[in-house]
Amino acid sequence: MGNKPVSALRQAYLCCRVCHKTLPQNAQEVVQCPRCHTQVYARIPHSLAQSWALLISSFILYIPANVLPIMTLNKAGVMRTDTIISGIINLANIGMQPIALIVFIASILVPLLKMFGLALILLAVQFNWQRNVCLRTKMYRMIEYVGRWSMLDIFVISILLGIVKFDKVASVDIEPAALLFESVVLLTMFAALRFDSRLIWDDINE
């Protein structure tokens, strides 16, 4: 570690979030990017607080999203109401373990990893933990990338809802958890988006 990283901010440079133009830091707080006319901040304002708020919201909604049924399948008069977990178990029971695994990863594992990962990163920034900065950065990148895949469940339900419409014979209805789960996914995505990853290493090496 002979070459200590020196951040741009420390050298009084700002970076435009939109066009990535490097600008010298002005005396004024607010700088406008001459190229794309975006307001350029040193760091996203209130990034940490906003991320926390969104993340906590997603945690709160995650509970009813998993407890309540996500959809009702009406097959020839037999109503079957499933939560996410019961749906996965059902899939596994009827011999579709690979699909169950995919759904499990997409619907349970990924959101959970995402939420806890984000929470970890936020905590690290909050309490100025110095270790594993690189790992956290990689984790953040992964969270941001993988976030959209949690929408798999929602995609499946919305496709089923549209296709399976045979009145009395077979039909699919969404239940409140679908909306809640959707909210969780969106909230975590926003939380990751509002978090300024540069904060991860801002306070190290001091």
Partner: protein, 890 residues
């Protein structure tokens, strides 16, 4: 380095973003709370058998409303029972208590009831009956529906019986054979000496049950066999099959208010109707006990059993039998002093089906309700009474050769209405005749006069003869049971007194002298006479039709004085009397007439009835002199409508040989059929034939001196196809009218004579074209003549065509008349005018022909014979527009 003053921005203590977790918490909490509210209560029901219960599907129903659904079905640990986990709506929470019952509803189809049919489609379901006690979540299912179902209102009573019999859960309680309640349950009495049947009477019938009510077992068929027959007593069919309980409440004169039955009142179940002793005891005095049996012989009123003989005993002097009869309590109003009883012995008859039953059951006591005071003692008659008010009618004696199928009480009919009945019959003293004593009720007595004729209408008279099948029946009843009918031709005739003697004819024809009697004096009809050579299918009653409407019928026929004809008398109803005139023509309806020829098929069908039975139709031919029909007039009967309606002139035509002439050969004038050969015969010397022919209608005028007949037959040839139609239609005779005196005998020719009448003209043409001999010459597409011959002109410069114009149309030919080839189709094309197609008549297109037109100017001299005209190869449109007024010769 920069000494700029720092800009201090105060951050708010709490960012607005923190409202988001709060909102999330609120939403999540509320949704959770909602689902908690909506989520039902889980209960478990232990079933012995869960057949038909499906997870997620089988509903829990209360009062027809789905209050829950089966979530899971498990087998119990000991594998003996099935544990059904169901989710019940929170609203039904209050119903889940200690005594709450759950049971499985399956379809039940039995003879008396069909329940749970909906489960066939929807699957079985679990019903709930809410209970009381403390709240509970685990239940044991009932094996069968509970007694009190959904708190239905009604009267709940217990009936004590020795045996259950065929009474079962759901058996009906009948009051006057109407189900008013049902058996809910039964159990052994505490003493084990009997059965207690729990019964629910519907609320609206609860008042029918009094303390005095008597219940008896109406189950099944109770049969008592005895020498005099079987006693069969059944309740309604449903009770017969499923069992049931009937009850009766005697009329209590004193209506006490405390006679209201409360829930749980006990009643006794009697073994049967008799032992319930609900009847009215009546004594009937019979002359003999034959046919009576204790406990078996029924009393019937109008085929309903209303009583039963309970006991038979002799009177003190031993001559008569007293039958003690137990009457149905309903019969009270029937037991009056005037009521009569008699013993109906079984008889087998086709019309009385109850007779069959009485054959099985033995004889029964019949009754006729009278008036008067209530009575409980009666004297039975030894034979059935007469009709109502029998004393006041009229008795007549009929003398018959044999009794036929007449029997006691056979009806006497007048115009098929029963006016009396046969009272008795016996042989006269010498044993030669049967004397039938009949009775005519008072209100119809005036229908009998000294000239009345009686006949036996018994049975069906089928008369199968060469004239066809003749079926005569009386009413259906008399067909089966026999009867006597009569007519009185003149009601004003002398009246008769009681006991008058008449002859009983064997049938209608005999009685009325073939129907004449009945119509002789009938004011509503008018008799006409028609003569015919043979009767054919005509018979008495054959209808006379006018425009296929029946207006009368044949009432009589007889041979004429000379015995060579049959004179038919037909009665025409007065309504249609004016249709009969001196010009009326009658003909036989021979059913279907099909006339087919090249001009089409003509089907003429008489009404279906006359098709089957034959008939006579008539119509009035038009005539200036129409006179009223006179009584003396005798109408001939024609064989067909055509014959009847045509005015014909009979002529004879002598031909050297008959080739092509036969019966039916047509006589035509200008192509129209004007007559027909009716008969062909050889002359006396066998040298020639004489065709007898008829000329129709206006053609009768042709029967004059100078008229010529010749035979037209098909002529075939390369250039000479003529009268081709005769190949199909047959040859015909052509006629050329003469103008001489009336004449009926003619000499015919075999070939077409030179026609002298009409106008001969010659057309000259550069070529013959398609013209052939016989081609038509048309004016405005109407044939007015024909091509007779053609030849080259002397200098071979032209073709000369000799044509002939019928005399009638000769006036059409003027000096400036233009002739042209009318052969074929002419098609003009033009760039702007489009296509123009002009054809002559189809015949001309095929055969070729000549058409002509005359200019629109009247002051032109008439043409002479053999005038030469130009024949143009095509028409000029100007010619087609000519339309002069030309007076044609008559």
């Amino acid at each position: 380095m920069n000494k700029t003053k720092p800009v201090v921005i105060r951050k708010p203590w709490l960012s607005g973003i923190w409202l988001l977790p709060l909102l999330s918490a609120l939403i999540g909490g509320w949704v959770l709370y909602q689902s908690m509210i909506e989520k039902g209560i889980e209960i478990s029901i232990l079933f012995d058998n869960a057949a038909g219960i499906r997870e997620g599907k089988t509903p829990i129903i209360y009062k027809g409303v789905r209050i829950g659904v089966v979530r899971e079905v498990h087998i119990s640990k000991n594998l003996q029972q099935v544990n059904v986990i169901a989710e019940i709506q929170r609203a039904a929470k209050e119903g889940l208590r200690k005594t709450t019952g759950f049971w499985l509803v399956k379809p039940k189809v039995s003879l008396t009831e069909i329940t749970g049919l909906e489960t066939i489609v929807s699957g079985n379901y679990i019903r709930m009956n809410p209970g009381e006690g403390r709240s509970q979540r685990d239940f044991i299912a009932l094996e069968k529906p509970p007694v009190i179902d959904d708190y239905t209102q009604g009267l709940y009573i217990d009936i004590f019986a020795e045996h259950l019999g065929s009474v079962s859960r759901g058996s009906k309680i009948y009051f006057r054979e109407i189900p008013v309640g049902e058996v809910l349950d039964y159990e052994l009495a505490e003493t084990q000496s009997g059965v207690i049947i729990k019964v629910r009477i519907e609320q609206r019938y609860a008042h029918l049950v009094k303390h005095s009510s008597r219940f008896w077992n109406a189950s099944g068929l109770s049969i008592k066999a005895g020498l005099s027959g079987l006693s069969v007593h059944t309740e309604s069919l449903a009770a017969l099959i499923a069992g049931g309980i009937a009850f009766y409440t005697p009329d209590s004169k004193t209506k006490t208010t405390h006679d209201v039955v409360g829930n749980g009142t006990q009643f006794e179940l009697h073994k049967d109707f008799d032992s319930a002793k609900v009847g009215i005891a009546v004594k009937i005095n019979f002359a003999s006990a034959i046919g009576l049996e204790e406990g078996v012989t029924d009393v019937k009123y109008d085929a309903f059993k209303i009583g039963i003989v309970k006991k038979l005993s002799y009177t003190k002097n031993g001559t008569n039998v007293i039958a003690e009869v137990m009457f149905d309590p309903r019969a009270t109003s029937l037991l009056k002093t005037g009521t009569k009883f008699w013993l109906d012995k079984p008889k087998l008859s086709l019309t009385d089906f109850s007779g069959l039953k009485s054959l099985l059951q033995g004889s029964h006591i019949n009754m006729q309700v009278g008036h008067g005071e209530d009575s409980r003692e009666f004297v039975a008659l030894n034979k059935p009474p007469l009709m109502l008010a029998g004393e006041k009618g009229m008795h007549l004696l009929l003398k018959a050769e044999s009794l036929g199928s007449i029997e006691y009480a056979s009806p006497i009919l007048y115009k098929k209405i029963q006016v009396g009945q046969v009272h008795d019959f016996k042989l006269d003293k010498k044993g030669e005749h049967v004397l039938v004593d009949i009775y005519i009720s008072e209100r119809y007595a005036h229908l009998v006069a000294s000239n009345s004729r009686f006949w036996n209408t018994s049975g069906v008279h089928v008369n199968l003869g060469p004239s066809g099948l003749d079926i005569k029946t009386g009413t259906v009843d008399t067909i089966l049971t026999g009867g006597i009918e009569f007519i009185t031709p003149d009601l004003k005739h002398k009246k008769v007194k009681n006991g008058a003697v008449y002859h009983l004819y064997k049938d209608y024809d005999a009685a009325t002298e073939s129907g004449l009697i009945g119509y002789k004096q009938d004011k509503n009809t008018q008799l006409i006479r028609i003569t015919t050579e043979e009767l054919g299918s005509l018979a008495m009653g054959t209808k006379i039709y006018f425009k296929k409407i029946p207006v009368g019928k044949i009432v009589h026929y007889t041979l004429s004085d000379k015995r060579d004809e049959i004179i038919i008398s037909a009665a025409i109803s007065n309504k249609y009397q004016d249709l009969i005139t001196s010009k009326s023509r009658f003909w036989r309806n021979s059913g279907l007439q099909v006339k087919a020829d090249l001009s089409g098929v003509d089907v003429n069908m008489a009404s279906v009835h006359s098709l089957l039975n034959g008939g006579i139709s008539f119509a009035n031919i038009e005539s200036s002199v129409v006179t009223k029909q006179s009584d003396k007039q005798v109408y001939p009967l024609y064989q067909s409508q055509q014959q009847a309606l045509q005015q014909t002139e009979d002529i004879q035509i002598r031909f050297p040989l008959a080739q092509g002439i036969s019966k039916g050969t047509a006589i035509k004038y200008l192509g129209i059929k004007v007559g027909e050969v009716s008969r062909v015969e050889l002359t006396d010397n066998n040298q020639a034939i004489i065709a007898h022919a008829k000329l129709f209608d206006s053609a009768t005028e042709f029967a004059r001196q100078g008229t010529r007949f010749w035979l037209l037959a098909a002529q075939l040839g390369l250039f000479k196809n003529k009268h081709l139609d005769t190949l199909i239609k047959g040859n015909y005779l052509e006629i050329e009218p003469g103008h001489g005196q009336k004449q009926t005998h003619f000499v015919g020719e075999l070939n077409q004579p030179e026609i002298r009448n009409g106008l001969h003209i010659v057309l000259k043409s550069p070529s013959l074209g398609s013209i052939k001999v016989g081609n038509s010459v048309s004016y405005r597409q109407i044939n007015v003549g024909e091509v007779r011959s053609f030849q080259l002109s002397k200098n071979a410069q032209f073709v000369l065509i000799d044509i002939y114009i019928a005399e009638k149309y000769a006036a059409l030919i003027k000096n400036n008349t233009k002739f042209w080839h009318a052969s074929g189709v002419q098609v003009d094309f033009g760039l702007f005018s489009g296509a123009q197609v002009r054809t002559e008549s189809l015949e001309n297109i095929v055969l070729g022909g000549i058409a002509f037109a005359t200019p629109d100017s009247s002051a032109v001299e008439k043409e002479d014979n053999n005038q030469v005209f130009e024949l143009y190869s095509s028409v000029e449109s100007e010619w087609l527009e000519w339309s002069p007024k030309i007076a044609l010769a008559d």
